[in-house]
Each structure stands twice: as structure tokens, then as C-alpha cells.
Amino acid sequence: MMQAATVITNGKKNAFSNLTPWLAVLAGFSILPGVLGPYWLNSAIVGLFYVMMASSWNLLAGFTGQVSFAHAAFAGIGCYTSGILAAKFGLHPLLGLPVGVALAALFSLGLGVLCIRMGGIYLSLTTLGFSEIVHIIIQNEYEITRGTMGLKVPFILGPYSKITAFYIMLVTAAVMVWAVHRILTSDMGLRFRAVLNDETAASSLGVPVTRVRVTAFVISGAMAGLAGSLYGHYLMLITPHIPSLDMMFHVLAMAVIGGLGTLAGPVVGAFLLEVLSESVRHFSDKYHVLVFACVALIFARFAPQGLVGLISACRQRWVGKRGVT
């Protein structure tokens, strides 16, 4: 019975092999600007930013087991780099963007190499420290970053329009999720999973564990840089909130509640929590943190595999029952 169930779930059916639901979701999203008012359209854009953040963090934490707390810091490095280049030197955001991504990648390379001898809690603590350092520097270097006042930056492309921003974010998020999928189904993804499953066995079979882990760190950091950079130029006012632990735990909660180590999990988690936090904010500004924490607790206790894991478990049970009768 157990084994029969395992065979069913193992049968090559990766989340993306069935492309239809993903295309349906994408199509559904692309008509959103015609349906939603400006308030909820803003939420959708923020949601898309979180999709990018949670998906790229999941690539690192969910598929190589490195729980890094520096993800928001990399987003901050991305957005402040392109933001400062645009605000102080008049560089077009689209040109500043790749510089921001490159710098985020460079920092993640440095941090990745530094952390590589550490595992588990030590890696988490070091990245936590790095994240705080970035946050404090940005907050205090008033001359350059304007600290908590925030730095005014130009819009991504042309005149300000939420619709333009939405489509840019939608396309980038879709490409990023697709890229994560491609990485995971490639030979590199196989290495990621081997390292996650058993480092000792992987290295005894020829997997260069160190290089694989650093690679994951850099790819995921660069993706965070891109997400942060785009988000900053949408907000047009970047503050130290982007590279903050607040942001980091938000992203972490989304990935975990959605389902760590699955492709759909972070996408579902990002939107679920974004919609949830906006809905709660309708009633009161105070309670959304409380609701958030409760949801996270409930999931941690009753559905540690996240929402996506819960759904597939239910589906499996249903399929199993049908098979018996």
C-alpha cells in the first residue's frame, strides 16, 4: 500500500511536466489589471515580488538545504545599487538593473565561500549577521542612501503606470520560476538534490559538494538582487525595509507555508500570505502580524510539508481510495 502510493507520486510527474495549470495561472494573471482596482493591483505586484523572492530562496533552502537569512540583504544590495546609480548618476534603471544583479551575485559569492565550511545553524547565523550588517550600513549611510527617509528613484520604464509595472513583474516572475524549474530538472538540479539528500554519499560519487553549494548560493542571490531591483523601481522610494530581517522572515514564511522544496509552494505561499495580510489590514493595522504568526504555527504543526504538500497528500489519499474500490 505504502509502496503503491510511492510509485504513484514518483512517476516522473514533476510540477512542470504538466504545463497546463501553469499556463492557466499565467493567463489568469495577465487579465488582472483589467479586473482589479489600483489597490489590489498594487497587492498583486507586491505578490509577484514575493513570488520571486520566495522561489529563489526555495532554490537555496528547499533544494540544497542551506537556510540562508541573507536573501533580503541581497535584494537590498540589488535595489540600492540600481537605485543609487539612477538617482545620483542618472543611469537608466534598465541599465542599473544588471549592475545590481551582478553586485548581489558577487556578494553572495563572497558570503557563500565564507559560509561553505559551515552547515546548518552556523550558516544561518552567519547569514543573519551579514543581513544585519547590510541593513545597518544602509540605514546609517545617510549621505548615500538617505537612511530611513528613503531614496527616491525613477520608475522602471517610461511614465509611472501600475499596469506597466505589473506586466514587467509578471514576465520576470514567470521567467524566474521557469528558470528555477529548468535548473532543478538539469544536471545541476540533480547535484543540488543529491547534496541535500546526503552530502557524504554525493561527494563519494564524484559530486563537488562545495562548488555545488556555492553555485546555488550565487544563483539564488542574483535572483534576489533582480527581484529587489525591480521592486525598488516600482515603489520609487527605497527604504531599509527591503534589506531587513522583517522582509526575510516574511519570505521565509511564504516559502515554508507554501511548501519548501516544491516548485509551486513558494508561488502559492507568496500570494496566499500577501492576500491574507492585505485582507487583515482592512480591519486593523495591528492584527496582521498576529494572524500571520498563527497561520505559520498551524502549518508548522499540522502541515510541515506546506500547502502544496497538504494538497498532494489529500490527492494521493483520494486516488488511493478510488484505486481500492
Binding site: 541535500l196 554519499a201 563519494s204
Partner: protein, 243 residues
């Protein structure tokens, strides 16, 4: 030239001398048995050869090149692979994916259908046909050991180190497994060093046996010689004068 040359290898763990100045060499095409009581240092010897534990002293060469100080993945690419006594499957990956990992690293030219074919052949060789898409964690212990072997073979080794691969097999499965080990050399031209507690199995397959006891090499020779050796008998049964 010997395939593998272990020269005065030593390793301490705290106050315990796990391996104390052990030297031996392995010639191409041999099947060598490595035996000894529990805690003799057999698995530690494997860990030293594959680089997962660093030597304190001495050196190890493979095909005339020093491999001391190299990382496990580099040693694997040199052509040494191993199985683990306590199995280490990639539990959340399918059997097929488990075998893909070493194939990707050691035979990069093999892609797509050819890679799949190669992986399926290896799983068939180790009697895992039909379980290609099972999660490795859902296999029973014997199948996990089979998967260990399939994976180690997929790394395309010149020398394979087998750490108690027979444990748990019944009398019907045993001869098949022994034939498989013999065929590693005869069909795949892989040299074998094999740790095993089942003496009958070692006797029927190996030409040469190395005996370790308390980190020392106490005897080396044909199975018959080793069985008659006084030191070996004492190591296993205790000193007769004590009794």
C-alpha cells in the same frame, strides 16, 4: 605497478589508534577480502582510501599517483568508488535518479536516452528492475544495498570498495550476489576490495585476504593461509591460554 598502494597509513581518533601503520597493495584484477573483528578499522581504512577521513600519517597512491589529501569527489573521479555499510541512499530521489548522480559526474558524455539506458542496465544488474521510479527511502535494506552497488558502479570505477554488501541476503540470493561480485572483475574489469563478515563468501570468491585487528594488519595471504594463521584465530576467538 600496483593499482592501489597504501603505505604506512595511520589514523587516530582521540586516544584510539584506529589504523596504525598499515601497508598493503592491490594489483589490477584482484578480488581482495578484508576481514577482522568489529572495530578492527576496516571501514576506517575505506574512509582513508576514499578521502572522507584525512590520514594522520603515511600515504596512499592510486595508479602510481598520490591521492593523499585529495577530496572524496576527486578520488572518485580518479576511479575509486565505494558502497557504505550503513546505506546512504538519496532517500527523496528515485532509484533512477540515484544512479544518475554518479553518471552525470563521471560519464558526462552520456546524455538523455543513453544515460537512462545505462542507469536501467545498472539497476537490472543489481536486481532492481521495476523499482526505477521508487523513492530510495521506500526500499527495504537489501534493495538499498543493491542500490549502493548500482551507484558505485555508475561512477565508472577502476577499483571498487564494497563494505558488507551481502548482509541480509538469504541462501537463495547469496550465490547470485557472489556471481555478481565475481563478474565485476570478469565482465567489467573492476578490481575489488571487499569487507565482509560472512567467511564462506570471502573464501569462495577472494584469492587474497587481508586481516585487520585493532588497527593493525595482522595477516595477509590466501584464504587457506589466513584461516590457519594463529594470530588470526586468536583475534577472532581470543587467546587460547586465556580460555
Amino acid at each position: 605497478m600496483s593499482l592501489l598502494d597504501v603505505h604506512r597509513a595511520s589514523k587516530r581518533f582521540g586516544g584510539i589508534r584506529a589504523i596504525a601503520g598499515v601497508s598493503f597493495s592491490v594489483e589490477p584484477g584482484e578480488i581482495i577480502g578484508m576481514i577482522g573483528p568489529n572495530g578492527a578499522g576496516k571501514t576506517t581504512m575505506f574512509n582513508l582510501i576514499t578521502g572522507s577521513v584525512a590520514l594522520d600519517d603515511g600515504s596512499i597512491s592510486f595508479r602510481g599517483r598520490k591521492i593523499t589529501g585529495k577530496k572524496p569527489h576527486q578520488i572518485c573521479r580518479e576511479g575509486i568508488s565505494r558502497t557504505f555499510q550503513v546505506t546512504r541512499p538519496f532517500g527523496k530521489m528515485t532509484c533512477l535518479e540515484n544512479v544518475y548522480v554518479p553518471l552525470v559526474e563521471n560519464r558526462p558524455g552520456l546524455k538523455g536516452a543513453a544515460r537512462r539506458q545505462s542507469a536501467e542496465d545498472l539497476l537490472a544488474l543489481t536486481a532492481l528492475t521495476g523499482k526505477e521510479d521508487w523513492h530510495a527511502a521506500s526500499l527495504n535494506l537489501i534493495d538499498k544495498k543493491r542500490l549502493e552497488l548500482a551507484r558505485a558502479l555508475a561512477a565508472d570505477p577502476k577499483l571498487i570498495l564494497l563494505d558488507e554488501v551481502l548482509g541480509g541476503l538469504n541462501s537463495v540470493e547469496m550465490p547470485t550476489a557472489l556471481d555478481l561480485i565475481k563478474s565485476l572483475r570478469d565482465r567489467f574489469e573492476i578490481t575489488v576490495v571487499w569487507i565482509e563478515h560472512i567467511m564462506g563468501a570471502i573464501m569462495s570468491v577472494c584469492e587474497r585476504v587481508i586481516v585487520l585487528d585493532q588497527g593493525r594488519l595482522i595477516c595477509e595471504g590466501s584464504p587457506e593461509t589466513v584461516c590457519r594463521d594463529r594470530g588470526v584465530i586468536e583475534a577472532y576467538l581470543g587467546d587460547q591460554q586465556d580460555a
